[in-house]
Symmetry: C2
Subunit: 416 residues, 2 copies
């Protein structure tokens, strides 16, 4: 599919006409506006709605606040209608392309904002290589994969208030740390600050009772890249018996663009063969995972970036639809804006791991960067960047980079 | 303090002039209105605001939606001013009591609604007797209290969407259950459905970085009774390694009335002596716990209630202010409407336990009701009721009952 926005037709452009992801950007007026990415431009949907070029059903000002949450509540038929309308407008054969030129904002230099309001945030643990690696380090090889792991899409509730958009600096946290040979913990800055390469699935429509995997898939609005910053030393001391808490509450960064599920349809693939049969409620009616190539870049302060991992979302054991279905089994109501993290995405090889904890095997085998420096965990001043795209025939569907720079811990967190 | 609302002056009335808790009720028009409880009446604050009898600063229609969240954002000075104004209006010497008579709604027969919008919900684990009892049952007596427990106010994020107001029926959930002697789990209705007697602290004002215990205490708006419904069999199978998830997501019931922190001031008491010194950031500048007598009643369907537990909030090891301070250590932003569960409140004696899991010691010692029936866990048709009050000199400050009736599990959770 070709657009009259020329940059969109380049084979390595992340935002071709096939993609049309949703973001929020600061407009000339300083207000957040909803935008759709096309090539190197952003289509200003908030201004188009204001000027009557786009109207969603009988609703008014769906895009007024520069947030896609209200749009999500309209449901799949409205999502499809909007996508068809924008696709037609941006198609190379669109009859009145010139009417749209005034609504195009160059991406370069634009500040991206949170594209939606996170209602609640759940983080899963669906990467088998990741779970095995971390389990081996935390509990030994004989207890690597928990007994329930092959049956339950293990997840825990995270903290929605800590989700930030790409580009937001992330400050190294303080917390309780206990050295293995110490009797008592200290309160100090985290020494083992880490990343987790994940995909985030965004729930578009709400549910009340349990939903099937097929229904869950229909509820999903789109996907983002996600970096779930993790304080490993805080985690190791706090996580028994009720799970990770402050170790995961500093920040979770997401890509600025939500890629619609519709744009990812050609890239569906299946979860793997099961060594243990799944319970019926988790059976998938079709392929629910996606073939999305992912990478992690690490750039020390002021220096060139090294790509420290390359993997693919297609290695996951449970899909987001399975996770969402499981999430509702208890009767838990799900709402527009809920976000589900996939769990850390690690492939089978060392160069395919999604967390420094795994890449450096708990610090024992530091990663060597192209600059010659080594990393066991992230250091102050490092910029971490996640990238991802699905590769089509002559085009790719991308998410935009998900970046975050690590700031040093506060000297005194209680100084005012 | 005496009110011209006569019922408020009875020594056993839960809603004297000293209390003035905040609730939401369905008004004659069918709309949710904000109300303040006094004696056997509700003062209709939404109508008073509409008619100009109450105005918060320059703000308009703070109470329009029948939800106290907007009011909470105004902060402690506004909370105090409002409380002083309502206290003066309801005082027995109030000069124009007759002007208020038209704003009084009888409590009897009124439907109570959620008094605020839960932003995020965190559940803690601060009852030492509870943690020891559960730890003994789940992990054996030698691992009863986790190694971190005396240092860390252990908590996990719960699911805000599952919080309901007292009076809401609670349906027994389905979930993954694995019998100890089975190889594989089944998907079936929960067989060990339980309650947890807790207090909920409601965060009134937001924070960005770490806050001290004193600052945390100032952020707290008020307290509710809380019943954190728990599926013990789902929990036992799912909780390793990332903590409780679906076992805690069916429902959490809260009392209809939020008791303002100001009303509880006379009842402050201290957390216990520490067998292990606390880290500085958890030190309390004064008494942060409250002396609140609590009880749990269980009524089988159509039968009389038995009080199955009597305990007190004053047995807790960590206060809500300590928990909130700990919650912010990582830099986690806290928001208006966040709710913090205390953890199950169990005293040292068997008759003082806050969960059936403990009362029946995992089902081995069923509780005998006054009807002659026994209970290891809650059964379909049971109504569970939490009550609580602080006892003053000739008056008491109560929360209203926190009730919920257990409905049978759906026959087929996916039937439409």
């Amino acid at each position: 599919m070709r657009s009259w926005v020329e940059a969109a037709n380049a084979p390595d452009c992340e935002f071709p006409l096939n993609n049309l992801p949703y973001g929020s950007f600061r407009s000339e007026s300083g207000e957040p506006h909803c935008g759709v990415a096309i090539g190197d431009m952003i289509l200003d949907v908030t201004r188009m709605e204001r000027d009557g070029l786009i109207q969603m059903e009988d609703e008014e000002e769906i895009f007024f606040y520069g947030d896609w949450t209200e749009f999500m509540t309209l449901g799949p038929a409205a999502w499809a209608a909007f996508r068809a309308r924008v696709t037609a407008l941006l198609d190379e054969d669109a009859p009145d392309a010139e009417k749209l030129v005034g609504y195009m904002v160059p991406m370069a230099g634009t500040e991206m904002l949170m594209p939606f309001t996170v209602a609640e945030y759940t983080d899963f643990y669906a990467g088998k290589h990741h779970a095995s690696n971390v389990g081996t380090m935390f509990r030994g090889p004989e207890n690597a994969l928990p007994a329930n792991w092959l049956s339950v899409p293990i997840g825990y509730n995270g903290r929605a208030s800590s989700v930030v958009v790409s580009g937001t600096d992330v400050r190294r946290p303080w917390g309780q740390l206990k050295a293995p040979d110490a009797d008592l913990p200290v309160f100090a800055p985290c020494k083992r600050f880490d990343i987790e390469l994940e995909m985030g699935a965004i729930v578009g429509t709400s549910s009340e009772g349990p939903v099937t995997v097929a229904e869950a898939d229909a509820m999903i609005f789109g996907y983002v890249l996600m970096n779930d910053w993790s304080a490993r030393d805080i985690q190791a001391w706090e996580y028994q018996p009720l799970g990770p808490f402050q170790s995961k509450a500093t920040a979770t960064s997401i890509s600025p663009w939500i890629v619609p599920k519709a744009a990812l349809e050609p890239f569906r693939c299946s979860t793997p063969e099961r060594e243990r049969p799944l319970l019926d409620y988790l059976e998938e009616p079709g392929p629910m995972l996606y073939d999305i190539a992912l990478e992690v870049g690490l750039a020390p302060d002021g220096k060139a970036e090294t790509v420290i991992s390359r993997t693919n979302y297609n290695v996951m054991y449970y899909s987001a639809a399975q996770q969402l279905a499981h999430h509702t089994t208890s009767g838990c109501p799900m709402n527009t804006g809920d976000m589900l993290g996939s769990g850390t995405i690690s492939g089978p090889e060392k160069g395919q791991r999604g967390a420094l904890l795994e890449m450096s095997w708990g610090g024992k085998e530091p990663v060597t960067l192209d600059t010659g420096e080594t990393r066991s965990f992230v250091e102050d001043g490092d910029t971490l960047t996640l990238r991802g795209h699905a590769q089509g025939d002559g085009y790719r569907v991308g998410f935009g980079a998900c970046t975050g720079k690590v700031l040093p811990a506060l000297e005194d967190p209680y100084a005012r």
